[in-house]
Amino acid sequence: MNAASTALSVRGLVKEYVRGKKVLDGITIDFAASGLSAVIGPSGTGKSTLLRCVNRLVEPTAGQIHFGGRDIAPLKGRALREARREIGMVFQEYNLVERLSVMENLLSGRLGYTPAFKAWLRRFPQEDIDRAFALLDQVGLGSFANQRADALSGGQRQRVGIARAVMQRPKLLLADEPTSSLDPKTSVEIMGIMRDLGREHGIPVIVNMHDVELAKRFADRIVGMSGGRIVYDGPPDGLTDDVLKTIYGGESWLAG
């Protein structure tokens, strides 16, 4: 994979929350500058830690994270914030500012670019506001701009969460179990929105998920993790029962 088409390049990433216990055991992987990749694997295998290490919500113990032409693993302060604002993130629990309006939640995606006093006065450039309205239309919440976030349903909140991340004009979109708190129908809609927005805005998307079928349906590439290592990396078609056994262990759950 050449540098121009690579959005993210992780080299020898190790994370130990407790000394000697490797949650991530030397992850090395590249992500292309387009397409949706799904990271699957059992709970507690480090999927979430991997994603959170990329935007440094979790401090990596060792390894490099090449993004935007530099290693962002050692960055601190302003440089770290500037790297983070180019990486959008969608959370399982949405993590909206509950008591603010939908519009304010979208604009909070611009906080990394907006001087603090202007943000405090809610003075955003008109182009940010236009973009916010356009994104609200795209995620199907066009008439919700002035609703408070805590008045929305789970699916609607997650749409706001995605729109907020895309407001950052990110060069990479991370989604940490974005559908795990949602019903199956809403999950499919949310995955569809992420795939479509990723394509339209040219943003590569990396999604952590539990649901293998959903991953197969939406992902261009599947990464299977087990015990802090990558045990499968390939197209969705390659996910045979044998591969799933390697990822999740056991076989009794693979009924029929």
Binding site: R81, R84, G88, L96, V97, E104, L111, R164, Q168
Partner: protein, 269 residues
């Protein structure tokens, strides 16, 4: 049926023997403490037997209440009391905001700063309003200024502590999301923490104002202005009907303050 009968009966007890012993010890200590303190208090029986009669005498002297005393002797002092309470609360809010922020470990992740802020808050609370008032009367002389500062300095600890705790209880996920957008610290504060703690903050402020209305009413006893001074004068001159007037005014104001606070709280929460 016979199968279940053969199974050994399992017992369940709410407390382990050790817990039962501990609970017994607590009850025993309580009884001993009550007996001991009753012996130390040294009630003088004559005064105790006399009390109902004295009480009746006092109430008779208080009645009828000296309503006519209100316009010239009470009104101004009452308004001053409200001013002391309100201004004192406002000053306390301004001082408590930064100290509360510094006390919250998730907002300022620096143990040294946290402990310093908590030290300030504890010192403020460990001194009673009346003692603060005595200190400020000594510094600024008697009057409303001493009272206002006493109220403010006592309230900082209360407001700052509760505000800091509200901050520490705010949802981590929301802050994490703003961190992920690359928002600077001050924007995370204004967009992440403040919306979450805003209702708590105003609720604490109102609650403290309510307390301060009551506290500022007695500050006059040590010369720090307000209606307490009118009360002090009337008490010293044994004008019990005027004392009754003052007490009634304080009671009315406290009731009105309570009603106002409840109504506003309903609106903001």
């Amino acid at each position: 049926m016979s199968a279940t009968a053969s199974i050994e009966q399992r017992r369940w007890r709410r407390f382990t023997p050790r817990q039962r012993l501990a609970r017994f010890a607590v009850y025993l200590t309580l009884v001993v403490a009550i007996v001991l303190s009753a012996r130390t208090v040294e009630v003088i029986p004559e005064f105790l037997y006399d009390a109902p009669e004295q009480m009746r005498d006092l109430l008779e002297r208080m009645w009828p209440i000296a309503w006519s005393h209100y316009p010239k002797g009470v009104h101004e002092a009452l308004v001053e009391t409200l001013h002391i309470a309100t201004l004192g609360t406002l000053i306390a809010l301004v001082m408590a905001l930064p100290v509360g922020l510094m006390a919250a470990n998730n907002v300022v992740p620096n143990r040294v700063v946290n402990y310093l802020a908590k030290l300030v808050l504890v010192s403020s609370r460990s001194v009673n309003s009346l003692v603060w008032a005595l200190l400020f009367v000594a510094v600024f002389g008697p009057g409303a200024l001493a009272g206002t500062l006493a109220i403010a300095f006592r309230s900082v600890g209360f407001v700052g502590k509760l505000f800091g705790e509200a901050l520490e209880e705010s949802n981590r996920g929301t802050i994490e999301a703003l961190e992920a957008t690359g928002a600077p610290w001050s924007s995370r504060l204004a967009w992440g923490y403040w919306p979450q703690v805003k209702p708590a903050f105003w609720s604490i402020a109102l609650f403290r104002w309510d307390i301060n209305v009551r506290e500022s009413a007695v500050l006059g006893l040590v010369g720090a202005g307000g209606i307490g001074m009118a009360l002090d004068t009337a008490l010293n001159l044994f004008q019990w009907d005027r004392v009754a007037m003052v007490l009634f005014s304080i009671f009315s104001v406290v009731v009105v303050a309570e009603i106002i606070v409840t109504q506003i709280r309903k609106k903001i929460l």
